[in-house]
């Protein structure tokens, strides 16, 4: 996650993006991190739908979900919506 930051002489003016938006790893904003209890999870995929950052992916090859902690901001909506209370927000 640590990249060399550019000087004011190297970047374009007016905040013209100096890197792709996918390289802005907004996951470092979070305080709490969603941790899933796989025993309780029914793979209903409600968390995938509710995640406002699209940071929970359905992986068909694994037949399971995956949290993308590079972009999860730790809002806790997934934990709140989970019908089986399988997700817990942890420090």
């Amino acid at each position: 996650m640590t990249q060399k930051e550019k000087s004011w002489k190297e970047i374009s003016p007016a905040g013209v993006c100096w890197k792709s938006s996918t390289e802005f790893l907004t996951g470092d904003w979070k305080t709490y991190k969603p941790i899933r209890d796989i025993e309780k999870c029914t793979k209903c995929l409600l968390c995938v739908i509710f995640c406002p950052d699209g940071a929970i992916h359905w992986k068909p090859e694994k037949g399971d979900i995956e949290f993308d902690y590079n972009f999860c901001k730790g809002c806790g909506i997934c934990a709140n919506e989970c019908p089986t209370k399988a997700i817990e927000m942890k420090l």
Binding site: S7, W8, I11, A14, G15, V16, C17, W18, E23
Partner: protein, 410 residues
């Protein structure tokens, strides 16, 4: 003056001169909202549009905040953009002033300088633009209607220069200039169009390393002014400071080029020096007051008093080295401020001129005169009194009262 372009004399007030200059400058978009004493600029320009004199798109907005937002949006697509405002209207634009300079959009805006409420006052002083001193706009203050015309034309060239890319305010004193009819020499449409040229768009590098024109274009998408957090915001602000420094040269270049075309120049474009070479006492001021001061300087010179004037034409960027050079040998300077910095121990122009003198090995005595607030007239006699005070300061070798109020009832 030989080889200057043919010109015609028109009777124009300051507002009309601004509108006329914008009309000739091949402007793509004007988005504006009327406010006294700027209204004539917008009215006049809308007449040009209605009569088919220009191909400009004219956008009537519901507020000044929207007017500048529309200008900014148009400007970042590569359009040449002009607007005008004053007082409360400029204050309502406050947020967008920073967005415009931050997006490096070279919008040109004429401001008919006017006092701010309360109490309500529609007359001229510099409170409106001085409150926007740090908004990242170039600020040029003019002396007469002729200079309004010349400066609006020059402003497009200055702001659009690739090394600058900053918005420009041309400040003309409300009513004193905005509503006073003068003889103004104007160039032909063709000559102005050639002088301003079409807006050149420099290339910038995208995150993919591609070099593309610096404008919003659906065919070559890019983001401008998106979020920049503590790790990058500071760098963008430093770039704006550099652009301001570059503007010092560009203002001078454009002033010189315009002088070749018209035979008219305003000092070096930054400072207009009057009888300052051998002056012992001097006034420093902005705008139309300089006209009155020049008359008084002429009278004093006839009486053998070595009086001079420093008119600061370009207030942002502030010509630090040039002012140090101009005032370095003077013995006493009076700085005139047509606005207040409440609690600031003097007005904004005073602060900045005094700040320049600090670094000189020996510096003149310096004193502040706040004057003309809310459009109060300032007479030649009052100016004469200021020079008299300066003579006393030179004799006594000290300043009694640092901050003085001209024509205020005590």
């Amino acid at each position: 003056m030989k080889n200057v372009a043919k010109q015609e004399v028109l009777a124009l007030n300051g507002d009309e001169a601004a509108a006329y200059a914008a009309k000739q400058s091949d402007v793509d978009i004007v988005a504006a909202y009327p406010i006294t004493p700027q209204t004539i600029i917008v009215e006049k320009f809308s007449e040009y549009v209605a009569n088919g004199d220009v191909e400009t798109e004219f956008v009537c907005t519901e507020s000044e905040h929207s007017a500048l937002t529309a200008c900014l949006a148009a400007s970042v697509t590569g359009a040449r953009t002009f607007t005008a405002s004053a007082s409360a209207g400029l204050a309502l634009m406050h947020e967008m002033l920073f967005v415009t300079s931050g997006c490096r959009a070279p919008v040109v805006m004429a401001i008919a300088n006017r006092a701010l409420s309360a109490p309500l006052n529609i007359h001229g002083d510099h409170s409106d633009t001085m409150a926007e001193r740090d908004s990242g706009w170039i600020q040029i203050y003019v002396e007469n209607a002729q200079e309004v015309y010349d400066s609006v034309i020059q402003a497009f060239r200055i702001g659009e220069n690739a090394s600058v890319l900053l918005p420009v305010i041309v400040g003309l004193d409300g009513f004193t200039l905005s509503h006073s009819l003068e003889n103004v020499q104007v160039l032909s449409d063709d000559i102005v169009k050639k002088f301003v040229g079409t807006r050149q768009i420099p290339n910038v590098t995208t995150h993919e390393g591609k070099s593309v024109p610096f404008r919003l274009d659906p065919e070559k998408p890019m983001s401008m002014g998106p979020v920049a957090f503590p790790n990058y915001y500071f760098e963008f602000k430093r770039q704006q400071e550099e652009a301001m420094r570059n503007a010092l040269n560009v203002v001078q270049q454009v002033n010189a080029e315009y002088a070749q075309l018209t035979g008219r120049s305003y000092g070096d474009g930054l400072l207009d020096l009057y009888c300052l070479e051998d002056a012992e006492i001097a006034i420093a001021c902005l705008g139309s007051t300089a006209g009155t001061v020049k008359t008084v300087v002429d009278e004093l010179r006839e009486e053998g008093v070595k009086a001079g004037l420093l008119r600061i034409r370009t207030f942002r960027p502030f010509p630090v080295e040039e002012i140090a050079k101009a005032l370095g040998k003077v013995r006493a300077v009076a700085v005139m401020d047509k606005s207040m910095s409440f609690g600031g121990n003097g007005g904004p122009v005073f602060h900045e001129v005094r700040h320049v003198l600090y670094d000189l090995p020996t510096h003149p005595h310096i004193v502040n005169y706040v004057y003309g607030l809310g459009g109060r007239d300032t007479s030649p006699d009052q100016i004469r009194n200021i020079y008299r005070d300066l003579q006393k300061i030179v004799q006594a070798k000290r300043v009694e009262a640092l901050i003085n109020y001209v024509g205020l009832r005590e």
